[in-house]
């Protein structure tokens, strides 16, 4: 069976469990599913925030995520990948992003999910703005996220 892949950008919340179930429904060859959800925290740089707004570049965001999903499918023996990224305004506790990977064994599922998240953070055209103490502030990119994405350049798909 070929790998199922889904990439979706949406304003609405998503149902992580339902999305994960779609990748395993009706098949018995999947032995591992990794579900990662990124959630809006109630603080940014140690200060409380009221909300988070995600701006994105329509068209490019989908294309960029799909490129990385294709790369993950080429690097690891996956049976399914789902990436959902929300945009618009969300409050602390709400889900922002979902990555689900399915494989016959856990190593590929874990690695591919981490690879996709590292690339989403640094290469997908999304920008976060937080509402903090009545002001709107753009979140600055972190060097640690660049370093996390960079390590995948050196690794091979052997895992």
């Amino acid at each position: 069976m070929t790998a199922l892949s889904t990439v979706r950008l949406q304003r609405e919340p998503f149902d992580a469990a339902a999305e994960a179930a779609k990748l395993t429904c009706g098949r018995t060859d999947v032995g591992a599913v990794v579900t990662f959800a990124g959630i809006c925290r109630g603080d940014e740089a140690g200060e409380p925030i009221a909300a988070l707004t995600l701006e994105h570049y329509p068209g490019m965001a989908e294309a960029e995520i799909e490129r990385h999903v294709a790369e993950a499918l080429a690097r690891w023996p996956l049976m399914g990948v789902t990436v959902i990224h929300r945009f618009g305004r969300m409050v602390p506790g709400e889900d922002i992003v979902l990555v689900v990977t399915a494989s016959s064994h856990r190593a590929a599922a874990f690695a591919a999910a981490e690879f996709l998240m590292d690339y989403l953070k640094t290469r997908a055209p999304f920008w976060k703005q937080v509402e903090k103490a009545g002001a709107k502030i753009w979140v600055e990119a972190k060097a640690t996220d660049d370093a996390a994405a960079g390590r995948w350049n050196k690794r091979q798909a052997a895992e």
Binding site: Y57, G59, E64, H85, R123, A124, P125, F126, W127, K128
Partner: protein
């Protein structure tokens, strides 16, 4: 050469508009040269492109480097480092 320019996040806020069609003069050959030329178009552009090294660019929805030629581009976007995920 007419190119559609798009701006995102604080680049958009500083320029004061999300997009525009501009006539790029001959002699502006690369993404970096385009940023330098844009800076000369007014205070808001000078502010947006004051530190071009932190600004990222995409041509026709693909990431590009400052030295990338702009010849043949339909749409060029400028934005800060990405903070999604």
């Amino acid at each position: 050469m007419t190119i559609k320019l798009r701006y995102f996040a604080w680049v958009r806020e500083r320029v004061g508009k999300p997009e525009e069609d501009i006539e790029v003069p001959a002699g502006v050959g690369t993404v970096a040269e385009l940023m330098t030329w844009l800076s000369s178009r007014g205070e808001e552009y000078a502010h947006a492109f004051a530190n071009p090294r932190v600004i990222r660019a995409a041509i026709d929805r693909t990431h590009v480097k400052p030295q990338t030629p702009i010849k043949g581009a339909g749409e060029i976007a400028f934005f800060p480092p990405m903070t999604g995920g």
